[in-house]
Amino acid sequence: MKRIEDYIGTAIYTTVLLFAGLFLVMPMIVAVVLSFDARSFLGAFPPTEFSLRWYREFLSDDYLHRGLYTSLIVSTIATLVSTVLGTFAAIAIDRGRFKGRATLEAMFLSPLIIPTVVTGFAVLIFTASLGIMDGLTRLILGHILITFPYILRTVLAVLSGVPKRYTEAALSLGAKPWLATIEVTLPLARSGIIAGAIFAFVMSFDEVAVSLFLSDPFTYTLPVALLTQMRASLNLTIAAISVIFLVVSVLLILALDKLAGVETLTGRGVYGR
């Protein structure tokens, strides 16, 4: 009798699980399949003929190219700045013992709980009042706000796995603090820092709301370009882009896993798994 209860429970569990998994994955599969659709209009699924036309469309679309180019620049610069500043800030917060540490940490992490719309709008008003009219600068400033908390959070997590003992050993052997940091702490945290940077870069690249407010007709990020195109008409060039996103995403996850293991981003519980 209990055995039957177990079977039913397992059946329900598995069904819901499959539903959740399918829900997350199905749209991507559909997009991938449709990106190879030969038809020039949106026809019923599944397509009967296949072609690479939409990929060619993307390659010749200047509007989207501009967006891609801008996105790469903005996200790279913002991530670099945040990584340098954020790593040092994380070391200071994790190992330092000065007053106001907790407040600083809260401030650094605040963009995570501020709605992105608010961030976008606020930075817009801020830069406008400071006379910063250049789209690129505005975007970079906004994206620094976005990437910084991710870096800080990741590096703080990584640092908790680097025992202070090593730094203390270096100091006891005569190294000055900044040398100890560069020669001991940083190398030990290196793979985690890189993983955090990759994660932050992706979050910045994908960001829509903030970029929406900070872009202008000449300087806009790829997601903003996609958004504009989607509002105008739904075509399959975007499907081709989806596939590219998917591929890049997979590659990045593989890289992340190589560096720090996918599990480190969720941490390990007290009991091992």
Partner: protein, 288 residues
């Protein structure tokens, strides 16, 4: 202590860059929200008297609908995400073999890594008029041609945003629960699902609520999903802010709404975490 000075210097550049970037915009946002607006101009009138009219404007029944829609739809999304996400998280932590768990984790991250725009697009394709799953709305008793269908699409879109995040959070929660507890329950005669409901689930509740708070806050603040999928039927607070920015340059009103949304989001986070800590003191949470 000599090291303290070193650390203070270390954190200084970040503070110098970041603090103005966070505090400045927020202050100016608040300031702008207090300025009056004259139709046709861009932004609020400078050097004018300050007013609260931008805030009181929203105390109007017309806006009640948008607020309610935002809260109601987000609630549905969050509840769905919690149920699906908890089972997914439980699977990853307790059931899946390490290789498969890693794969699922990678999958969740992968979904997060794909821009929301792309995901919305894919969902529109899949569940829209030409998609293979367009008939799914019949399953829940909704006619695809009605307004409710649009709402369903928005729910799907938001769910796609919130689910990976919530799942990842709850993976952490379940990892904190001692796996031996379920085994103990089974050794005492409880079949699998009863062991789960008597032991693992009650102990996960604080974590589930926390994840729900995060998910809800995210869902409320979302702009892109209602913008692209709402078709004007479903409008969130973020949409209102965006319209005040893009269609009419009524920055003060948009700013006021932003401040309101910010307070709501902060309120949810802080009140929520306080309540969780109060009801479930940390000492009782793990299985030691």
């Amino acid at each position: 202590m000599p090291l303290d000075r070193f650390h203070k210097i270390l954190v200084l550049p970040a503070v110098l860059v970041f603090a103005p970037l966070v505090i400045g915009p927020l202050i100016l946002l608040f300031q702008e929200s207090l300025r009056p607006y004259e139709g046709g101009s861009i932004g609020g009138t400078l050097n004018a008297y300050l007013t609260l009219s931008n805030y009181t404007e929203f105390w109007h029944p017309t806006y009640a609908k948008y607020f309610l829609d935002t809260f109601r739809v987000s609630l549905i999304v969050t509840l769905l995400a919690l149920v699906l996400g908890y089972l997914l998280a439980h699977y990853v932590v307790r059931v899946a073999k390490p290789r498969i768990a890693k794969l699922v984790l990678a999958g969740l991250l992968g979904v997060l890594f794909i821009s929301l725009i792309v995901r919305i697009y894919a969902i529109t394709l899949t569940f829209g008029p030409i998609g293979p799953l367009r008939d799914i709305s019949w399953l829940v008793g909704i006619d695809p041609r009605t307004r409710r269908h649009t709402e369903l699409m928005v729910v799907f879109g938001l769910l796609h945003t919130v689910l990976p995040l919530v799942t990842l959070t709850m993976i952490g929660t379940i990892q904190m629960v001692n796996p031996r507890l379920e085994e103990a329950a089974m050794s005492l005669g409880a079949p699998g699902w009863r062991a789960f409901f008597s032991v693992t689930l009650p102990l996960s509740i604080p974590g589930i609520v926390s994840a729900g708070i995060i998910g809800y806050a995210f869902s409320i603040s979302n702009l892109v999903v209602p913008l692209l999928m709402g078709r004007g039927f479903v409008t969130f607070i973020s949409n209102l802010i965006y319209f005040r920015f893009s269609e009419v340059a009524n920055f003060p009103s948009g700013a006021a709404l932003s401040v309101i949304m910010l307070l709501i989001a902060l309120g949810i986070f802080f009140a929520g975490t306080r309540i969780v800590s109060a009801i479930w003191p940390p000492a009782e949470r793990s299985g030691r």
